[in-house]
């Protein structure tokens, strides 16, 4: 038997999980909202989502080829970034918006820093922030979903903040029959996706619950009405952000207490922007700011070592 056996260090068995399976779970969790976006916004949604996904994957492959690195597109993380970027676009966005957004997200926010796991901010949100700063009018052209009259419209949060328009019934907000980014409108389907991710152990409850909870508490204190709390929670990008963006592994804390602080911080920032800021929405910038704070949060929230060793 000499020279036939492999000698490696323990452990000699590994779990069946791998990065691709984790990303596939995220894609599965996003699918109900993808289908809803196609139902509400039709071909626009198909067009924007496919362009975003294809550009994200292609950018990753081209950069890795150019840098003579192993091409890792089969881990599906670029697909996730593409879908999330598209989800953050208005249905009226022109075709080149998702293209530029995805190239920026993958090339600048992800690959420049070392690829998967090394991005210090959420790539899709970085892409969205860049697009919003560069082409604000293209990024804020809201329209009603299919079945609702009128071409341009105000989002529920714009109306809560004082824009012209009639506040849509909360049930429409929950099911997604409201203007907004293509992936953020259907609260109920995003929650179903979140429950799937919790069940599969892909995300923990800590960030989404502390984030959404903080927003709800501050909204109640500020608005004084449970109904308006409903609009704050279900009406904007909060659920998409709290469940799918703030839980991005690379840019959020790994420590249990850190996750809670991250969620609370994002919630406070979101409400500060919604209340005092120039825009009715604040989820993207709040998460990006908390992304930057992640290393320091981790530093001060290290778990207690068994046996009580000092940190």
């Amino acid at each position: 038997m000499e020279n036939k056996v492999l000698a490696t260090s323990s452990p000699h068995i590994r779990s069946k999980d791998n990065t691709t399976k984790v990303m596939l779970d995220v894609i599965i969790a996003l699918l109900p909202a993808v289908i809803a976006s196609i139902y509400y916004f039709g071909f626009d949604s198909i067009k924007l989502t496919s362009i975003a996904v294809i550009s994200a994957v292609a950018t990753e492959a081209i950069i890795q080829k150019l840098l003579k690195k192993e091409v890792t597109i089969k881990d599906l993380s670029a697909v996730v970034t593409g879908i999330l970027l598209a989800f953050n676009l208005p249905p009226s966005a022109p075709w080149w918006i998702p293209l530029i957004g995805s190239v920026f997200a993958i090339a600048v926010a992800k690959q420049v820093f070392g690829g998967i796991g090394h991005n210090f901010i959420n790539p899709a949100l970085a892409g969205r922030a860049m697009l919003l700063a560069s082409w604000p009018t293209k990024m804020l052209g809201w329209e009603n979903p299919a079945g609702v009259d009128a071409v341009s419209a105000a989002t529920p949060l714009q109306i809560v903040k004082g824009a012209e328009g009639t506040l849509q019934p909360l049930s429409d907000v929950i099911f997604g029959r409201v203007p907004g980014c293509i992936g953020e409108t259907s609260a109920i389907l995003l929650i179903i996706g979140g429950i799937y991710l919790l069940y599969r152990g892909v995300i923990s409850w800590k960030i989404p619950v502390s984030y959404i909870g903080t927003v709800a508490v501050i909204a109640y204190i500020y608005e004084g009405s449970l109904l308006l709390v409903g609009y704050h929670v279900f009406g904007g990008g909060l659920l998409l952000g709290a469940i799918f963006m703030a839980t991005d592994y690379a840019s959020s804390p790994v420590t249990p207490k850190g996750k809670i602080i991250f969620g609370i911080g994002a919630g406070v920032l979101t409400m500060l922007i919604r209340i005092f800021g120039a825009t009715p929405e604040g989820v993207s910038y709040s998460i990006l700011l908390m992304n930057v704070a992640t290393p320091i949060i981790e530093k001060y929230t290290q778990p207690r070592v068994f046996g009580g060793a000092k940190k």
């Binding site: 999980d17 984790v22 068994f306």
Partner: protein, 442 residues
Amino acid sequence: MSSKGLTFRGGIHPPHFKEQTEKSPIEEAFLPEEVIIPLHQHIGAPCEPTVKVGDMVKVGQKIGDTKAFVSAPIHSSVSGIVTKITKHNTPTGAKVTSVVIKSDGKQEISEEVQPKGDLESLEKDEILKIVREAGLTGMGGAGFPTHVKLSPPKEKKIDIVIINGAECEPYLTSDHRMMLEHPDKVVLGTKAVMKALGVTRGVIGIEKNKPDAIKSMKEAVKNEENLEIAELQTKYPQGGEKSLIYAVTKREVPSGGLPMDVGAVVQNIGTVSALSDAITTGMPVVQRVVTITGSAVKEPKNLLVKIGTKFEDVINQCGGYTEDLGKLINGGPMMGISQFTDQVPVIKGTSGILVLNELDAQKPEPSNCIRCGKCVDICPSGLQPLMISRNSLLRRFEEAEAYNAMDCIECGSCSFICPSKRPLVDAIRVAKQEIIAKRKKN
């Protein structure tokens, strides 16, 4: 107690893989033609040979000893003639002086081997002497000399003895079979340990995936008012010393400390069974139960094997290897040591020989850490394996130390759970060695 059983924080649920041997009764292995008995099978000082080439030896005769306190004597497992005293590979990866004995097939028992009488009639010091002279060491793997564990300094007050019947390593069933077939030995050995320490509370911890062993041991202790059975959650590393003490007593062994710091002494099922033999028959540790299992051995078995039997001989008795042999391991799949040859002997700490086929032996390629945090969630020591390993791989050992690398018990749970297949525990081991080396220098 919760319905899932007592446990600790963190941990993983690897597949059990115990079906192959959990129902196979312990069989006595054939007598090998030759045994290679290393004189250093334990933690502590190696033994010096007490025999010469050409000497005739008998079963149970002492062949190696030392005056050092932290050590344990070595005995012959066969009767025959000493043919060589030479350096030989052991399954722990070391090359140590070993006594090679050619068996005469008669298995004559040494005159030194005499029954020691009833436990009731033995004094504390007599038990300690029996333990030392029988060469007892921790038989779960690490091999710490048992008499040292049973001689705590006076200021350490021990109030509980915990027997580790968790057998949380996948594949292994030797302790399980021992509890089923010889519960009386487990009980007698446990009582002897308690008497040696002057302790009146003994707890035998068993994982709940072994309901028959729990039943068997409960039956065996029903008239023993000082002994109880603790049902443990089936979770790895439940049998880790610190995890087990916490599960049973909710006491945390302090960082850098020992079980005796929280008043506990832990012994393994194999160790207390061997102590029982050492009292009733006087036979020192010359054999042990070994689980031979895995995807590349034809007939998995639980065998009672003479210490010093080559792995090759043991595996031949289990029908030999299948065609696609990939890996040979001393111990279980989580903490066992893979071997590069089957010409190594079974030693006191060999709880299992795991033989994996090429498919099971494959080591997956690592990819980037995605910072999923699973290793942080499951680390039974409350560490952040991703941070320690990252610093270790960058040779930043001071940072690794600041992340409490020295508290790692090397259970391997982090490497198991990692979706990116990072070499987490490997890198942490490197960091620990570097930190120890630096501490020695200063």
